[in-house]
Symmetry: C2
């Protein structure tokens, strides 16, 4: 078997420094577990803008297509705030999602026991929280046409975007959610606004049909997006898997993440459809941003990036054992009291990016 | 001066019973403050569907147009769950918003000191919370064309909705937000997704220009909708006034409400533009729904409906004194320990809808 191709895209801000800690973990994988990757690295986001004048080159997209998995850091840099809409750093991730067909964005929101107090919510509300949001990520209003800003004869401008969802787009992401639920608590909550949007009405219909046809063993509920936002605050543990469209998913998954109080801990995966050769396009990234304010200071939390690698091992390479080992090592290190600045609390030991990375590998 | 015309639309579920407590307060207004209204009442929502086969009659919309203010209860009844998209009870409120031009939905999220423990968030995070969300409510994806569900030749369906925002729509709701801020903490946060939506890009541009031209004394910040959802959980007290579009406003205002832990306490107002005769179309309603599960049991919390009347007095009739009196009476009654079931906590006295209403009027 030829070595698995891994494309690493550290991006901007703290991206490169947290990615360095991932290198320690891949070194361990090769040294102790005999798992090696054919790794290449490239620029995206502001870093690519600075070098090549574009947030992502066609060449990098091609490399991503050929890779077995992409490990992404984060993009965004205030330097590029006033660059045009067609050059913003975010395009790097949007283009990768669309060009690779990465339609299912998996966003776990999990509360680590050691960090239950980091949440702004009461411990009794979030202890043990473990939600998986499955967000559609190549469709909806992010990509629909017509779109743009037009100027009317009277000088007025109109900004336009279009939400479009087709049966097959809803079905395939629904399938991911139901499959995921079967491995978890067997329950899916489908979220839309069918009371005001026909695209939501179709969403609800398609999910309902799919459930009846293929997944009637899974519990399915439906919820309006506004109510879901409320329920995530009121009683988040009522949820197992949530499946929703691109825009609602963007908001609700960030909301769910914040319930944990520790964004620096949360990874994500974005998956495409299995190809005929058995390969599945996949990208893994921490949910936190590039945090330009703390970049280069060596204080960023590398855990979300390391846990993104764990997800990568699990979903792209079926290396469940190694994925779990890494996750357990993270929990163990937290239990010893080591904390980066973002998750620091009284009586714990504050450490930098590299000490945290080192400690996790030592634990492994 | 002819008596002010008030149209009362109790709607479904607990609507009628909480509205009965409002009648006590209007009786007090007339008896003790010499303020009388020319009140008429009509059916909307499921109640109207049952009687007339439509969630709102043209006649009722006309009455609402002629009224000086509309006091709305809530609509929605599981009985009508499977009625068509063009008959759902929600159309009552959507049509009123659109036909009366009620473009600015004001959604206060305020934590009452006596109820700080009702929140699922830690008291130190929400104590004193006082946010005003100004949500655009006659535009955006709720009303844009094209919309609908189409069937493609291959049998696939596509659900379509269109988000459209024009300069003047953004400007007028922006103006409401800036004016509101001047009477509060003088700070506005404008929320959109300019990084993925051109309608959000225009939103940001128009608000920025309006601010520079007319409101540079107010502090203006911009935030992406996903980040706003996070910040509302992380540190909600950073916000004073939030201004945003219809769909984001729907979700974020419900999220903000839930931070208070007591939906049964929160009123809302939806305002239109002042007409040449000085009249301003306006509708007031509690943010809670029709709560069919507890309807008819006499246990619903009437406070949100009563506080909606207070908002009505303030915004439609400039009766600031009476509005404040009612708000203070509510706080005072809570301080004595009376609680309806929804806000009940240990050591307090649990009362029904009517006892709560009575107590507030007695306090007045
Ligand atoms: C970077 C940005 C375009 C993106 C989005 O809005 O989808 C981000 O918020 C996310 O959730 O991955
Ligand atoms: C009743 C419904 C159509 C409405 C909406 O989605 O706008 C409600 O949720 C609201 O916020 O007033």
């Amino acid at each position: 078997m030829s070595a698995k191709k891994l494309l690493i895209l550290p991006g901007d801000g703290i991206g490169p420094e947290v990615m360095r800690e991932v290198a320690r973990v891949t070194a361990w994988l090769s040294r102790k577990r005999g798992i090696t990757f054919d790794v290449s690295e490239d620029l995206v986001g502001g870093a690519s803008l600075a070098e090549y004048g574009t947030p992502i080159r066609e060449e990098v997209i091609q490399k991503a297509r050929e890779a077995d998995a992409v490990l992404f850091g984060s993009v965004g840099d205030p330097k590029w705030n006033s660059v045009g809409f067609d050059k913003r750093p975010e395009l790097a991730i949007l283009k990768l999602r669309q060009e690779l067909g990465l339609f299912a964005n998996l966003r776990p929101a999990k509360v680590f026991d050691a960090l239950v107090d980091a949440s702004t919510l009461k411990p009794e509300v979030v202890k043990g929280l473990d939600i998986m949001i499955v967000r559609e990520s190549t469709g909806g209003i992010y990509f629909g046409d017509p779109r743009g800003i037009e100027t009317l004869p009277n000088g007025e401008k109109r900004g336009i975007n279009t939400e479009v969802y087709a049966t097959h787009e809803i079905e395939r992401v629904g399938r991911v959610a139901f499959e995921m639920a079967r491995k978890r608590q067997n329950s899916v909550c489908s979220v839309e606004k069918h009371n005001v949007m026909e695209s939501g009405l179709l969403w609800k219909e398609v999910i309902t049909d799919l459930h009846a046809r293929e997944y009637s063993d899974v519990t399915l509920t439906h919820m309006l997006a506004d109510n879901c936002a409320m329920q995530l605050v009121r009683n988040p543990r009522q949820f197992d898997v949530i499946v929703t469209g691109n825009l609602f998913g963007d908001i609700l998954s960030d909301l769910a993440s914040m319930l944990t109080g520790s964004l620096g801990m949360l990874p994500s995966a974005t998956l495409g459809a299995k190809k005929s050769d058995g390969r599945m396009p996949a990208l893994y990234e921490p949910i936190h941003g590039s945090a330009p304010d703390i970049a280069g200071k060596g204080i960023a939390n590398p855990i979300a990036q390391i846990l993104s690698l764990a997800m990568l091992l699990r979903y792209s390479f079926d290396l469940e054992t190694e994925a779990t080992m890494i996750e357990n090592a993270v929990s163990a290190v937290l239990a010893t009291g080591l904390r980066t600045a973002d998750i620091m609390s009284e009586g714990k030991a504050r450490v930098g990016t590299d000490v945290m990375g080192e400690a996790i590998v030592r634990e492994l």
